[in-house]
């Protein structure tokens, strides 16, 4: 069982992580953060395998992966 943690304030909503997630668990949300960006949100349904692809592509190092 793995999960990721997206730091809302660091996320700039570029959506690169959404293209790489093999389980499509990351979506750009409808809320904006303090910088005015629509940040990415993670759906924790137990399917995350902790591959860390989202974290490796994140240009803002906003994702932490727990396993």
């Amino acid at each position: 069982m793995a999960r990721i943690e997206i730091h809302q304030t660091l996320c700039k909503g570029c959506a690169l992580c959404t293209t790489l997630c093999p389980e499509e668990l990351i979506k750009i949300g409808k809320q904006i953060n303090e910088n005015g960006y629509f940040y990415a949100v993670f759906t924790d349904n137990g399917a995350c395998k902790g591959c860390a692809l989202c974290a490796k592509i994140c240009p803002d190092v906003a994702i932490e992966v727990w396993k």
């Binding site: 069982m1 793995a2 999960r3 304030t9 660091l10 700039k12 909503g13 570029c14 959506a15 690169l16 293209t19 790489l20 960006y37 902790g50 860390a52 692809l53 974290a55 490796k56 592509i57 994140c58 240009p59 803002d60 190092v61 994702i63 932490e64 992966v65 727990w66 396993k67």
Partner: protein, 252 residues
């Protein structure tokens, strides 16, 4: 079963948000350089040299000493730092407007002298910070603010392939071109940047890693389309791979 953190911000990267535009690959390159420094435990003895361009705020993000170089002269400043402090690991981090245009003489001669430094070269085919002007690496036909009808080789020449140029020089120990477009390329990039620092640690000579990067703002594309452009337009002209890897240090 307790949870373990398997991926987080490297220690060398300060806890500061990047000023880069959304989808800019500078952040990924920053993280990989910081991870390479962490891997070899070089944080206390690394000196960075920042160039002019988007990479100018290196000192805000890296928990190492950083010197700011005049435009294009990062390789020359890094040479001075390395010669004064041979026990330090010195790297410069430069964009294409800085390294391939105004600083091409410094870069080529630094490589030719085989200075034991590492250069991370970010190639995004455009002058990023100054507003998207034509750079030496701008692709043919690419529209920029100073080539509104697209780059024409009759007027502006052809895009420069820096890694190939530097790979021909005797002083270069390691020259590679990497990109962040696919998971495979990301892993390759990480290995290349780590190898560059490892070579410097082993005093093998000049090491150079070119990173193909996206510039969503100046290309007028979103982050995902910029990634596609790197894959479909840049990689065919700027092929990825290791162009030179020295097996042993030169003994004279």
């Amino acid at each position: 079963m307790s949870e373990k953190r398997v991926f987080s911000r490297p220690q060398t990267l300060k806890d500061a948000p990047f000023h880069f535009c959304p989808g800019c690959h500078h952040g990924i390159a920053h993280r990989m350089v910081a991870e390479a420094i962490d891997k070899f435990n070089l944080r206390e003895k690394t000196i960075g040299v920042a160039s002019v361009g988007c990479s100018v705020f290196l000192y805000d993000y890296f928990d190492v000493d950083v010197i700011e170089a005049p435009h294009g002269r990062a390789a020359a400043v890094a040479t001075g730092v390395k010669r004064a402090r041979k026990d330090r690991i010195v790297f410069s981090y430069q964009g294409d407007g800085d390294l391939a245009s105004i600083g091409i003489a410094e870069t080529v001669h630094t490589a030719n002298r085989g200075e034991n430094i590492t250069i991370i070269f970010i190639n995004n085919t455009v002058y990023g910070m100054t507003g998207g002007q034509l750079a030496p690496t701008t692709l043919l036909g690419q529209k920029t603010t100073t080539s509104p009808y697209g780059r024409d080789f009759m007027q502006d020449g052809y895009p420069i392939r820096m890694t190939e140029i530097l790979a021909t020089l005797e002083g270069t120990a390691f020259a590679a071109r990497v990109a962040f477009t696919t998971p495979k390329n990301i892993n390759m990039a990480k290995k290349a940047i780590e190898k560059a620092f490892q070579f410097q640690k082993e005093e093998m000579g000049f090491t150079f890693v070119e990173v193909l990067s996206a510039c969503p703002t100046n290309w007028g594309l979103n982050a995902i389309d910029s990634m596609k452009r790197v894959e479909e337009e840049m990689i065919p002209y700027f092929p990825l791979g290791i162009f030179k890897e020295r097996k042993a240090a030169d003994v004279l």
